[in-house]
């Protein structure tokens, strides 16, 4: 158990402000490596903001200020010498709405690897097949790699986005409500996929679907108004929550 929960990402006393508004309040948690951590909470509780703090996507928002420490393998990712580009290669991200580029399926997957230096065509071919297989999309698209990513169904588009993230071989995958725009069948595929992915990488998923969190995650963090109310093993949090507010939320009395 000790070996399995070796920490990769650690948040210590993290507070995030948008101008004067504090959206994350003194959150501390450790993301267990090669497990799925779910962040749940009602709309506006700061789930996405917390997720985006991990790959510094909040940096693009004017007036954003972060306090506390976010570290990866013991290194402060907001440190002065940190290369954000290199950081984001190690931490992939999948968004709420599938957002493949208006390019071919092949070019979508190779976009990331090509950014980071010259790669031979053969290597790219291998990488495309590997990433699409990992994202459980290969069999559906192997005969039309040159058609546009936008021609795929919503669920396929989202798996293409996952493949695109996997192609840069990240150690962590952040997923921001990855199934909220999808139908139940496509959602089930994404959930299966997450369970497979955690063999190789650490997954963090933001969701407001509690069943989803209960189904797929190993640990769950419950966030309310920017405050981390409870963070525990998923089974425990859903069956025997320690905090009254968690109980209210998961039993549907709130949010």
């Amino acid at each position: 158990m000790v070996g399995k929960t070796e920490a990769r990402v650690e948040l210590q006393g993290v507070s995030i402000y948008y101008n004067k508004l504090q959206v994350i309040k003194n959150v501390s948690l450790t993301l267990p490596s090669k497990e799925i951590t779910a962040i749940i909470g009602p709309s506006g509780s700061g789930k996405s903001t917390l997720l985006r703090a991990i790959n510094r996507m909040n940096d693009h928002i004017q007036g954003m200020r972060i306090e506390g420490l976010v570290s990866m393998d013991g290194q402060n990712i907001y440190g002065e010498k940190v290369d954000v580009v290199a950081l984001r290669r190690r931490i992939g991200m999948v968004f709420q709405r599938p957002n493949p580029f208006p390019k071919s399926i092949y070019d979508n997957v190779t976009y990331g690897p090509k950014l980071h230096g010259k790669i031979s065509k053969t290597e790219l071919d291998v990488l495309v097949e590997k990433s699409l297989r990992q994202a459980a999309l290969w069999d559906e698209v192997k005969d039309r790699l040159n058609s546009s990513g936008l021609d795929l169904s919503g669920g396929q588009q989202q798996r293409l986005c996952i493949a695109r993230s996997l192609a840069v071989e990240p150690q962590i995958l952040l997923m921001d409500e990855p199934a909220s725009a999808l139908d139940p069948a496509a959602t089930a595929k994404i959930e299966d996929l997450m369970l497979k992915l955690k063999q190789d990488l650490t997954v963090v998923i933001v969701t407001h679907n509690m069943q989803q969190a209960a189904r797929v995650s190993d640990k769950t963090a419950f966030l309310l108004s920017g405050e981390l109310v409870e963070f525990d093993v998923t089974k425990k949090l859903f069956t025997a929550p320690r905090d009254k507010r968690t109980d209210d939320y998961i039993s549907g009395k709130m949010g």
Binding site: V85, F95, R97, F101, P102, Y111, G112, L115, R164
Partner: protein
């Protein structure tokens, strides 16, 4: 159907009717000319001699001049315009962007005769000095002035196309570890290429139709120019300079209308192509 609705629909058709009416009018007025000269020498010949006996009306020189000057305007203006649009949409701070954008809008409002004057007094002498020409009143000088005049159209339309690119694309690119520069050139600009192409085509249409500036700056030689550094006269300048002297219903009068019809067809084709690019691009995005 309520009356208001009928009126609005009628207003929509007005543009269509006007366009057709202009075409019919031009065709009708130039008909006597084409009836007499039912061959291609009108556009392939080089002799425009309206007061000779017999007169000759051939417009190859003006056509070539129009193409050359438009070419210079587009080659100089498009890179500058597209890069300005990228800068406005993606790089400049908001406040600076507002200032730059309003400067472009002011530029769009400057009468073309003022541009002609600037071309005459500043650009032409400078071009003559730099290239060692006898006169700076050349197609090149006119193209230089036109390249500035097409910027407002080009920049505002291209910027609009760039801003219409969904932010999600940029987000995805950043999340994959792309820099801002890589995101602009590899995702945003390629995603907007349909709209940018349409902007360039509309700017070309604008350049082809410009009259006063080229009349003042391009010089006035009536034959086919041998080089871009020759004085020349465009189709628009030809019509503007001669129509007031042509006797109504004379051969010259009808020939000028025929030249106008050719000009109409060219600009119509360019604008239709731009519209097709815009419609095509939208259809693909929503699929």
């Amino acid at each position: 159907m309520p009356t208001q609705q009928k009126l609005v629909i009628a207003a929509g058709y007005t543009v269509l009717i006007l366009t057709v009416a202009i075409f019919v009018f031009l065709a009708h007025q130039s008909w006597p000319f084409f009836a007499e000269h039912a061959d291609l020498s009108f556009v392939t010949g080089d002799r425009w001699l309206p007061v000779s006996f017999p007169p000759s009306f051939q417009i190859k020189g003006f056509l070539v001049s129009t193409l050359l000057i438009t070419g210079v305007a587009v080659l100089l203006g498009c890179p500058l315009g597209v890069i300005s649009a990228i800068s406005l949409a993606e790089l400049l701070p908001r406040q600076v962007g507002l200032v730059v954008r309003s400067l472009f809008e002011i530029t769009a409002g400057i009468p073309s005769v003022v541009f002609g004057f600037l071309g005459l007094r500043i650009v032409a002498p400078y071009v003559a000095r730099v290239f060692g020409l006898q006169t700076g009143l050349t197609g090149f000088s006119a193209g230089v002035v036109l390249s500035v005049m097409i910027l407002p159209t080009l920049v505002s339309l291209a910027e609009e196309a760039l801003r219409a690119v969904p932010r999600e694309y940029a987000q995805a690119s950043y999340a994959l570890g792309a820099t801002r520069w890589q995101t602009i050139w590899r995702v945003i600009v390629p995603s907007a290429r349909g709209g940018i192409a349409a902007a360039i085509l509309l700017a070309i249409g604008r350049a082809i139709g410009e009259t006063m500036t080229v009349l003042m700056v391009a010089g006035g030689r009536l034959t086919t120019p041998g080089s871009i550094f020759d004085p020349m006269r465009t189709l628009t300048a030809l019509i503007a300079s001669e129509v007031k002297n042509a006797a109504r219903n004379s051969a010259q009068y009808h020939a000028l209308f025929a030249a106008g019809l050719v000009l109409f067809v060219i600009t119509f084709a360019v604008n239709a192509l731009a519209a097709a690019v815009i419609v095509g691009g939208k259809g693909r995005r929503s699929s």
